[in-house]
């Protein structure tokens, strides 16, 4: 029989994973699809650009003055329906104001709230995340407790209490959004920085005598920006819906300022008589949110593939 000693060869120590092993193949297949999915979502990007364009050049492209009342032309249907009034592509609301112009004007509030909210909550969240991860110990415990407390209050409830205290308006909406979302950034940035902190280049910087703010600013932040971008793009969609919900409840933007959520709230009393004032602004919200989410997913897949379930 063969030499029993042969069986004791070390070759059995872990051998390189068989590239043609079944699970490796399918992982290769799926990876391939990810790259193919990597094509830039032009449609979504286009929609977001349209939103920015409407917001910036609202005054130029609006066919009518959004606040101009004309009781004679109240509740006229969109152009493709009989009984419509020329010039009002998407019809008029109960005070005879042009719905298309108001939607364009509404884009301004949507974009403004979106940008403020993302920049502020991102900034504050990232800062808190970095501080708690970098310093650890008591700082970390305090900030994390604050995050827990913050997360245990449902965002709408927080909005209600705040709107009761400060009078409703754009600033209240932004404060509420920032208070609700900063924890999101803080937690994820903390995770990133915890791993970054152990990396050599950070240790070297500390040894080289860099002050903490310099380390945080020049060494740690650039590595976190990538994640922040992904988080911001994912947050845009939900911020738009959140602002619309607050305005709908009457806590958000107050007339004469225009917001899509407010338009929906105004359209409620007569929604059985006129379907378009209650439907069209909602479609505007849906399109922009869909675009934001698709864009967000694309950003996440390309910039940060391993963080797939973010």
């Amino acid at each position: 029989m063969t030499d029993p000693s042969r069986a004791a060869g070390p070759q059995t120590a872990g051998h390189p994973a068989d590239p043609l092993a079944p699970s490796a193949i399918t992982r290769m297949l799926r990876h391939v699809r990810l790259i193919r999915a990597g094509k830039v979502p032009w449609v979504a990007g286009g929609m977001l650009l349209l939103l920015v364009f409407c917001a910036l050049f609202a005054d130029l492209i609006m066919p009518w003055d959004p606040t101009a009342l004309n009781l004679g032309k109240a509740l006229k249907p969109p152009i493709w329906q009989d009984g419509s009034v020329s010039g009002h592509l998407l019809g008029t609301d109960n005070l005879g104001r042009d719905i298309l112009s108001r939607i364009i004007q509404g884009a301004q509030v949507t974009l403004e709230v979106g940008l403020y909210a993302i920049v502020l909550s991102g900034g504050i969240g990232a800062l808190m995340g970095m501080l708690s991860a970098y310093f650890g110990g008591v700082v970390d415990a305090v900030i994390m407790r604050l995050v827990d407390i913050q997360m245990s209050i449902p965002s709408i409830a927080l909005a209600l209490v705040l709107a009761a205290a400060l009078s409703p308006g754009m600033s209240t909406v932004i404060v509420v959004i920032v208070l609700s979302y900063w924890t999101w950034y803080a937690r994820i940035v903390r995770g990133e920085v915890l791993s970054l902190r152990e990396r050599d280049f950070v240790k070297l910087a500390r040894v080289a005598g860099c002050s903490t703010p310099v380390i945080l600013w020049r060494h740690i932040l650039p590595n976190v920006v990538n994640t922040l971008l992904v988080l911001a793009s994912l947050q845009l969609g939900s911020v738009i819906i959140f602002e619309a919900t607050l305005s709908f409840l009457g806590l958000g933007v107050q007339s004469p300022q225009m917001s899509w959520g407010l338009m929906l709230n105004d359209a409620r009393p007569y929604m059985t008589r006129a379907w378009w004032p209650i439907t069209l602004p909602g479609i505007a919200i849906m399109i922009v949110c869909l675009a934001a989410n698709v864009f967000g997913d694309w950003m996440r897949d390309t910039l940060d593939p391993k963080r797939r379930q973010l």
């Binding site: 606040t67 009342l69 009781l71 004679g72 109960n94 009761a164 009457g250 007339s255 059985t272 008589r273």
Partner: protein
């Protein structure tokens, strides 16, 4: 003060209890839906207007208006206003045989107890309405006198209509505040049997209710709370409910077209007006005071096409008023509302020296209490803009609006303000006028939210507060009303919203009754046989 025997009222009351034979008790059940929910069910602690919706069915007063808005003796069989050594005294003979829901009969001591409770600031939100009563002298179980410290013009025809409710001293003293709030007691046509907050009230007809002439025609009544307009109308359409309150203005056309549905409209009890601030020059950073000049005030009144707003914005669910609402003591049909005349308005503006207009803040009230108030405000302020009164529109929700309104609060109001205060149906404008037409006199309780000031008007408003006898009071109120309108005093009176009720014609027999400024008293609702 001549002795005034209320002959007319007395005779009418005899008619009321003519039908003495006990009609057989009502049977069957109905389900209705209301948009707003009463919160406080103890009549002595009620605060918000919406509380009167349910209380109007449970409690009653000495005098009450009937559907034709004529004040009838109710719990009081007969009453006399006399004067004893210079002080007014109201002598009242209680109706006999008025039973409480939880047993026991209404007596003078109950009324005295009601007064004590209503005057106690820890209980009642309106202690100042009882302030001028010195004490109540009980003569026998069904006969007592109200002795006044000083004349109180608004006590009799006021919002309270002899501001006392028939409550049982025995019940109130033997139950805790929570129990009373859960199971209130009274002499009214309905008894509260059950209640699920935010869902429904369950009422039962009060079998031995004293007024057999006007009483419910159904045994059980469930009042569902459906705040969402669309769902409330859908509930009526699908037959889930038999009667609904507050048909949304935008859907009235559709509801009227539904077969088997009857509707009727009544004033909602809130009087809307636009108050024009006349102390702008006293505010920091402002030197002109345009609304001090009556021509600017008239220009503002002429600048707005109220008829157009009522038709388009309020879907016809409103009626204009000048001094007070029809049925109120000082109603004067002869005073015509301001027409829509922008040319004359511009001319008046130029005469007053404001040819190219001026800028002013315009606070637009946002409230669910009356439909489309926000849209009305936006339309109103847009019209002002066309005659040069350029509005900076600022939306304001009810709570901050209240604070801006109140003159004792800083920062002072610095702009035109949508204003809403119910003179109430059949109500006497005495209280509201002393609150918003008398100059603001901190500490004296006058003009607590007045943005208008005119010494001559002050004198007239003070005088009406002391005139109790309706015969003298009514002509005085009419004189005040005429001057108010010509001088656009206390703001531009715009409209009184109408509220529309709708019910299944084949099943429900319904006649609206007024109470405490609202038409939600379900005195006569029943099943059609």
């Amino acid at each position: 003060m001549k002795k005034f025997a209320c002959a007319v009222a007395g005779a009418a009351s005899l008619l009321l209890c003519a039908g003495t034979q006990a009609a057989e008790p009502a049977t069957g059940s109905l389900t209705i839906a209301q948009a707003a929910e009463s919160t406080m069910l103890d009549v002595t602690r009620a605060a918000a207007g919406v509380d009167w919706y349910i209380l109007g069915n449970i409690n009653e007063q000495l005098l009450q208006p009937d559907p034709t808005l004529e004040v009838k003796n109710w719990l009081a069989e007969k009453w006399e206003l006399t004067e004893v050594d210079g002080l007014p005294v109201i002598e009242i003979w209680l109706r006999k045989g008025v039973k409480f829901h939880h047993g026991g009969e209404l007596t003078s001591s109950d009324m005295a107890f009601a007064h004590k409770r209503l005057a106690n600031p820890d209980v009642s939100k309106w202690p100042h309405y009882q302030a001028k009563v010195d004490h109540i002298e009980i003569i026998d179980d069904h006969h007592f006198k109200i002795i006044f410290k000083e004349p109180d013009g608004t006590f009799i025809p006021g919002a309270g209509l002899m501001r006392l409710y028939g409550i049982s001293e025995a019940y109130y003293t033997s139950h805790s505040e929570e129990e009373i709030q859960q199971r209130p007691d009274g002499t009214g046509p309905w008894k509260l049997v059950d209640r699920k907050v935010k869902e429904e009230f369950v009422l039962e007809a009060h079998d031995d209710y004293w007024n057999q002439e006007h009483r419910p025609g159904v045994k059980n009544l469930t009042i569902k709370i459906i705040p969402e307009d669309i769902t409330r109308v859908a509930a009526l359409q699908t037959g889930a409910v038999d009667w609904i309150d507050a048909v949304p203005p935008a859907m009235i056309e559709d509801v009227k077209k539904m077969d088997g549905i009857a509707t009727t409209a009544r004033p909602s009890g809130n009087n809307l007006f636009m108050s024009l601030p006349q102390y702008l020059d006293k505010l920091p950073g402002r030197n002109d005071n345009p609304f001090k000049d009556v021509r600017v005030r008239r220009a503002a009144a002429l600048a707005v096409d109220m008829e157009g707003i009522i038709e388009h914005v309020l879907f016809g669910q409103a009626q204009r008023y000048t001094t007070t609402t029809p049925g109120s003591a000082a109603y004067d049909a002869s005073v015509e509302p301001y027409p829509y005349d922008p040319q004359k308005a511009k001319q008046l503006m130029t005469e007053a020296g404001y040819a190219n207009g001026f800028d002013v803040n315009c606070y637009n009230l946002i409230t669910p209490r009356e439909p489309n108030v926000k849209e009305y405000g936006e339309a109103f302020y847009a019209y002002l803009g066309q005659v040069g009164i350029r509005c900076k529109l600022i939306g304001e929700e009810y709570a901050p609006w209240l604070a801006r309104n109140n003159r004792s609060r800083e920062p002072q109001n610095d702009g035109i303000l949508t204003h809403m205060w119910g003179h109430g149906v059949v109500a006497d404008p005495g209280t509201p006028w002393s609150g918003h037409m008398h100059c603001y006199a901190p500490g004296e309780g006058w003009g607590s939210y007045s943005h208008y000031c005119d010494p001559e008007m002050d004198a007239m408003v003070k005088e009406q507060a002391t005139v109790m006898d309706p015969a003298d009071r009514i002509p005085l109120l009419k004189r005040i009303g005429k001057k108010k309108y010509e001088d656009v005093a206390g703001g531009i009176t715009t409209y009184v919203p109408l509220v529309t009720f709708a019910w299944r014609e084949d099943k429900v027999d319904y006649k609206p009754w007024p109470w405490m400024g609202f038409w939600r008293k379900l005195q006569e609702i029943g099943i059609k046989h």
